[in-house]
Symmetry: C2
Subunit: 242 residues, 2 copies
């Protein structure tokens, strides 16, 4: 059954009304007809619907059934990602969303080469959010993970503190992910990951002061975009979500 995300203002008590690009996609690209079934998701809830009326600009549906989404992991994993060069952030967002990340927070660390100005950063965030939405749709997520605005290292640390379980990937040493005491279904986990060249010692120390445990991913040197994908995979597996 085709699957789309709905916004709060699309949903009434018994019906859903879709307009814009999704309506065009449903009517024109998928050529769906009155009477056919379609699913909408919003923040962890699935609305199983039947199309009651459809034009190229408007799709009206009756809500047949409302269910909690069963595709969401039971762990909220936030990826704090130092901004890598070129378009690597796009791959990171697409893959970590598919694999179940809850939120992605880009930030600037000492060794970041990419330092977009405000205008460029705002444009990037819009693009990244679209990539997260596409990946969420494609992989059948129950939510659209949010990509936050780019934070400074200091602001990232402040945010990080709010998470229960905090990890930071550090190539100069730490415990392995399997030793990191996250198999007991932590409700929320945050992982801080570096850009090319990783973190400076002082940055890792600051994160440690906020309670982040340094994680070492072994002797092979992973490209910076490989690390968040691998870490998300392993954490989803360790918490029984894979």
């Amino acid at each position: 059954m085709p699957r789309f995300f709905a916004e709060e203002n699309n949903i009434s008590e018994n019906s859903i009304h879709i307009t814009g690009s999704d309506a065009r996609h449903i009517s024109y690209s998928l050529r769906m007809k009155k009477g056919e079934r379609i699913t909408f998701c919003r923040e962890g809830t699935e609305y199983l619907c039947t199309i009651t009326d459809i034009t190229e600009t408007d799709v009206y549906c009756h809500i047949d059934e409302t269910l909690p989404s069963d595709c969401e992991p039971d762990v909220r994993l936030t990826i704090y990602q130092a901004l890598p060069k070129s378009d690597k952030m796009e791959l990171i967002i697409q893959k970590t969303v598919e694999l179940g990340a809850f939120r992605i927070v880009p930030f600037i660390s000492k060794r970041c080469v990419s330092r977009p100005d405000d205008k460029s950063a705002a444009k990037k965030q819009l693009r990244w959010q679209r990539i997260a939405e596409e990946a969420a749709k494609q992989s059948g997520r129950g939510i659209i993970p949010r990509v936050s605005p780019i934070l400074s290292f200091e602001d990232m640390l402040k945010e990080l503190e709010q998470n229960k379980k905090k990890l930071i990937c550090y190539e100069n040493g730490g415990i392995s992910l399997t030793e990191a005491d996250i198999s007991d279904k932590c409700s929320d986990i945050a992982v801080v990951i570096g850009a090319e060249g990783g973190f400076e010692r002082a940055e890792v120390d600051k994160a440690s002061e906020k309670g982040a445990v340094p994680i070492w991913l072994g002797k092979r040197i992973l490209r910076c975009e490989t690390c968040p994908i691998a870490v998300t995979s392993v954490i989803m597996s360790m918490t029984g979500n894979f």
Copy 2:
């Protein structure tokens, strides 16, 4: 210390002689000089060397020390990957090599859209092998993982049989990776992974007859290139290699 791979014919008892593009890279791009130290790897052995003479075409080194490479995982993981569309195989090879895969075997399954002719397949294999070599160098592997020629499904099954532990990813159900009894340091593991659209039931049945255990990666639908990256990450973690 810069790190390169050497071939058997480069290595004598006490010395290593490098020519070709690596020699040019060492002399011209890295501007290395006589007396500087460099490491060469060959099949799990590291040769710690000092440059004794260097021109743009020839690099002569003295072997100071020979060590077993400590960057190789202690599990030999072979990825049997049904050929995906466009250039996705390149990302799969780059990432699985970084993460520690031992060998990659592309094959053609029923739902493969990409079916290169012999000439194109040979060209692809060369390109893939180059990508494996680059990824091995970059990540500090002790070996260059081999990318095999593209096999038919039947030939893939024959090869698969030789592996001790065999898994096949199947989106219609199976056990989870963590239930797959691979944490006891299996010496070799093979994972069969589908292209876009996954496998037909009959294909999974045939692989099961050869001893492959169906693995289910959960309710989120992973893009076909995400699956081998995630599976390699999790297996490396489960076997203590991450």
